[in-house]
């Protein structure tokens, strides 16, 4: 199993039956493939739909009026519904979305998140991310633990401009699951064959190591 599959598989296990879940673009989208058989979640897309499903299959009709958050045609499950962007962000900001799953440039031990701009680089805008991380009940960050140079993306304090302050609830990487608590970052689970020492050495943030640590799988 590769790193991204492990992250997606573990993330999918957070959801409970009936949860409304918003998945970001990229790695978070892969979470859709690993929802447990006995759990039925409703996918929210911020352009105004709950109950959005994957793209139409071969031979299925394509409706350009029904698109996902990337603008590609999707399908609607039975019971799904569409509404305005205004209603959509009311759902999001009002705490009616149980989980939002996003990637990050940096996360820190205070639950701060930076994932929308790097000073000096072209910025595409925050889209709906700031509202999602402010309003969703749980904010799950899925990402590879370190950047390409091997630096920890889990900081004591974010250095990049924030998307949200104190908003992250869990961080899921290919090494571990961390929970953001008022006391700090708690190491909840380890990936198979990964040690506490390895996680500590690859994490800039201070970690709280409890006596009992679970396994990601």
């Amino acid at each position: 199993m590769n790193a991204k599959e492990l992250i997606a598989r573990r993330t999918a296990k957070f959801f409970k039956d009936g949860d409304v879940v918003n998945l970001g673009i990229g790695l978070p989208t892969q979470v859709m493939n690993y929802i447990p058989e006995d759990v039925d979640v409703w996918f929210d897309s911020e352009n105004g739909v709950v109950g959005l499903m994957s793209a139409p299959g071969e031979g299925q009709p394509v409706d350009f009026n029904l698109v996902d958050a990337s603008g590609f045609p999707g399908t609607l499950r039975v019971g799904g519904c569409c509404f305005s962007s205004f209603d959509s962000f009311g759902l999001i900001r009002g705490g009616h979305v149980a989980y939002t799953v996003l990637g990050a440039y940096e996360v820190d031990q205070h639950g701060n998140l930076a994932n929308w701009m790097v000073p000096g680089k072209t910025c595409a805008g925050m889209g709906g991310a700031m509202d999602l991380v402010t309003g969703a009940k749980n904010v799950l960050i899925t990402m590879i633990h370190c950047d390409r140079e091997g630096n920890s993306k889990i900081k004591k304090q974010c250095t990049l401009p924030l998307t949200g302050a104190g908003v992250v609830t869990h961080i899921i990487t290919e090494l571990c699951v961390l929970e953001v608590t008022p006391e700090g970052l708690v190491l909840r689970e380890l990936a198979p064959d990964v040690t506490v020492e390895e996680v500590v050495s690859k994490t800039e943030a201070d970690l709280i190591i409890p006596e009992k640590i679970g396994c990601m799988l």
């Binding site: 897309s45 911020e46 352009n47 105004g48 739909v49 394509v62 409706d63 350009f64 009026n65 029904l66 698109v67 990337s70 603008g71 590609f72 045609p73 609607l76 569409c82 509404f83 305005s84 962007s85 205004f86 959509s88 962000f89 999001i92 900001r93 701060n112 701009m117 072209t122 910025c123 595409a124 805008g125 925050m126 889209g127 709906g128 991310a129 700031m130 509202d131 402010t134 309003g135 401009p161 924030l162 998307t163 949200g164 302050a165 104190g166």
Partner: protein, 226 residues
């Protein structure tokens, strides 16, 4: 006996008499879904330029709002995202288009305030981020919020699935997006509809935008997709 409602259906040329260079214009759409493509094409043909656009994004390269980007008709844009259109990104980097980013949900609330006679909205979105700069932080019952001010436009261009001749509107699926909120927040509202029906043909409870908000209706074309 009730009077027969007046038809607001006009030609595209009549609608274009209300679109002018330098205006502030709300243009709906998410990526390229629910964009008033017919009205955008007509504005380009008329030579309307120096636009101050309020939209969520700029569609994709050369389509929808992307047509205005390609033809250099936009001087400033208030939006939440430009990433779906590489040409917009290039022109923003080159300084040809000024952009003011606002979070997508905040954009909605600011337009609602502009259309509903509200002096501003308090939102927790953007607290502790660059969005806070220059804005008033207001504490209510121990919780902090940013004060965000209303958005209003000279003209809103709307894409509807069905319209009756007095402007009652129904949108389809996610093509609804910013359309109903923008129809409330401009001085002049022009609708392009895929299908125009007689007054009385739409079920009153299914109408999503009341016709009293609409000034003009033109025949539109179906959403083209991304």
């Amino acid at each position: 006996m009730s009077k027969l409602p007046k038809s607001k259906v006009v030609t595209i040329d009549q609608a274009m008499e209300h679109c002018y260079s330098g205006m502030t214009v709300m243009i709906p759409g998410f990526v390229n879904c629910g964009v008033p493509e017919t009205l955008i094409k007509a504005m380009i043909e008329k030579g309307v330029t120096d636009l101050d656009v309020i939209s969520n994004n700029t569609s994709v390269k050369g389509r929808g709002i992307g047509r205005l980007v390609h033809e250099n008709r936009i001087k400033h844009i208030t939006c939440s995202h430009i990433g779906s259109n590489t040409e917009t990104v290039e022109k923003v980097v080159a300084g040809e288009i000024n952009v003011t980013f606002t979070p997508q949900g905040t954009l909605c609330e600011r337009m609602r305030a502009g259309g509903a006679g509200i002096g501003g909205v308090l939102t927790p979105t953007g607290l502790g981020t660059p969005m806070q700069e220059g804005k008033q932080v207001i504490e209510v019952n121990g919780k902090k919020y940013l004060l965000e001010l209303p958005l209003h436009a000279d003209v809103a261009l709307i894409h509807a699935w069905k319209a009756d001749k007095m402007g009652n509107l129904i949108y389809r699926r996610t093509a609804r997006n910013f359309n109903p909120i923008m129809a409330t927040a401009a001085d002049f509202v022009i609708v392009e509809a895929e299908e125009i029906v007689e007054v009385g043909m739409l079920e009153p409870d299914y109408i999503m935008t009341p016709g009293c908000l609409v000034d003009m209706i033109v025949q539109g074309a179906p959403t083209e997709g991304k």
